[in-house]
């Protein structure tokens, strides 16, 4: 897993929003399915106005169950769910929420424009059609039937349906699955701008990098239980502490790029711990990534295809959810 170099944008999202009105909450929610599977156990969480919260966890952690409870599609075995101070099944709550679920397919033989407008019609004050097209990146595919869309385009149409009602609260269940990097980053920036307009977003993901890049707060779930919660930095440091068996991994970054710089040259740079050159791609492991990068960029004007990833991200996540 790699984190595309995008420092200013990521840092900007980590500021906790000022407004703190509670929009939605789960209070001591336990969900046991009738087949005996315990999907959630004593989970409490609160979503506040204007924040992006990521529910992070491996498959089967209970993320989708939490979303379905908040959407009123399923009722808790015990505990309470509240959306805008009301029961999530209340129609007033539904008018103010939008949702993107992991679904197999939408109706094949309806055009993107038709599906979006059908959903807009459910709301008294929908988002203007042109704004949805722009926000979800539907330009050029509006006249296509759903069945003709690529995986990423389908995902974008579902995002558009979630936006249709100009909702104050958005649930996005694995929104960027199947999207290429560009589309994923476009959706990230849309999600950020929604939050900036005071909307609340709850997204589920099993990519820590996505949670890290987007969320003000991360809630890590595993096997239906809360593992930890906090800002991305807090979660990562908790994860890092959990990986104390490999303290050397802390602070290390991996730089991947195509560069003309030779191995010897690179080894002399500050912090560099290991170098690997294969198939024209250079991989540098360093404990001082900023200094190393600065020097590499200064020395090689033609350097390209740059990626910086943190081994601690993956390790932290695995450590947190492994037991």
């Amino acid at each position: 897993m790699s984190l595309v170099l995008d420092m200013p944008e990521i840092v900007a999202t980590h500021g906790v929003p000022a407004a703190a009105g509670t929009v939605a909450s789960l209070t001591h929610v336990t969900k046991r399915y009738s087949n005996g599977v315990l999907a959630l156990e004593d989970l409490s969480l609160t979503l506040r106005r204007g924040e992006i919260v990521a529910l992070l966890g491996p498959n089967g952690a209970g993320k989708s169950t939490a979303v379905k409870l908040m959407m009123g599609l399923s009722s808790p075995t015990s505990g309470t769910v509240s959306i805008f101070g009301a029961d999530p099944r209340h129609s007033a709550a539904r008018l103010r929420t939008g949702v993107m679920l992991q679904i197999g397919t939408a109706p094949h033989m309806l055009r993107v424009r038709e599906q979006v407008n059908l959903f807009r019609g459910y709301y008294p004050n929908p988002m203007p059609y042109a704004d949805i097209v722009k926000a979800a990146g539907l330009e050029g595919i509006e006249q296509c039937f759903f069945v003709q869309l690529s995986g990423g385009q389908k995902q974008r149409m579902l995002f558009a349906l979630a936006l249709a009602g100009d909702p104050d609260l958005l649930f996005l269940d694995e929104p960027t699955v199947g999207l290429d990097i560009e589309a994923r980053r476009a959706m990230w920036s849309q999600i950020r701008s929604l939050a900036a307009r005071g909307k609340t977003v709850l997204l589920t993901t099993h990519y820590l990098e996505e949670a890290d890049a987007l969320a003000h707060r991360i809630i890590v779930l595993n096997k239906g239980k809360l593992v930890c919660a906090g800002t991305p930095a807090e979660v990562k440091s908790l994860g890092a502490a959990a990986t104390s068996s490999q303290p050397s991994a802390l602070g290390l970054k991996i730089i991947r790029c195509v560069t003309a710089l030779g191995e010897e040259h690179l080894r002399a740079m500050p912090g560099v711990a290991a170098i690997e050159i294969a198939n024209g791609l250079t991989t540098v492991t360093t404990s001082q990534p900023e200094s190393t990068l600065r020097e590499m960029l200064a020395l090689d004007q033609s350097l390209h295809s740059l990626e910086v990833s943190s081994p601690a991200l993956e390790d932290a996540f695995l450590a947190l959810t492994s037991n």
Partner: protein, 268 residues
Amino acid sequence: MSTAAITLPAAPSSSLARILRIFFNETRFEFLRLLRTRGFSLSVIGFPVVFYIFFGLVLNRGEAIHGQSAAKYMLATYAVFGIVGAALFGVGIGLAAELAAGWLELKRASPMPPLAYLLAKCITAMAFGVVIVSILTLLGITMGHVSITLVQFARMIALVIAGVVPFAAMGMVLALLAPFNSAPGIANMIYLPMSFCGGLWVPIMFLPKVLQHFAVILPTYHAAQLMLGVFGYAFAGSTLSHWMGLLGFTLLMLGIAWVAFRRLEQNS
């Protein structure tokens, strides 16, 4: 339209208009969707039409069934055959597919009134039923020397609309109980024997006595007798008894669908 909606808060009267518009749009797009789904529209309209041409107009040309023209008799029974197909496949298989894909869940999470979803499917099946019966009637008049009055045609259309309901309810049960992969197969396993035993292909009086007695529990039989009643061709039983038969079947199906839906909801 949208800019006005944003500046003006929704008044109660406009909210009723909005809900009516949701029902209308839901139905419009459901019809459009099925019409564009060639696999559906061609077979659901094509089967009764082709069967009627073969058995009602070509093979039994000039034949009489108990003194009545075969072309006219079979116009009534193939009309019922058509609406059963439209309801079972339009409502049943449509619902099964959308349930399996998780699409229904997304719809339920939206503020769409759940009734709009079900009514859209039902009305669409009715619309297909009207199309089928109109084509059959046109064929009967032009190729089979069938003469029917405008009132009879209007009564046929009314029966199409009412007759979709029990089979739509049966489609719902099928969608809720059968796994999606097998739903189309099961639908055919119900559709074809039920049509035969209800006297839709071969007039009921030509079936063995055992089957004639068995037919009383089939909604296809009651619907066919009501449709034949439009021409005064009913075989047995009063009009009221056939309506009660359809009503009983509908209530039974809705009851099973309700239980199945509750069970599904508890599992989710």
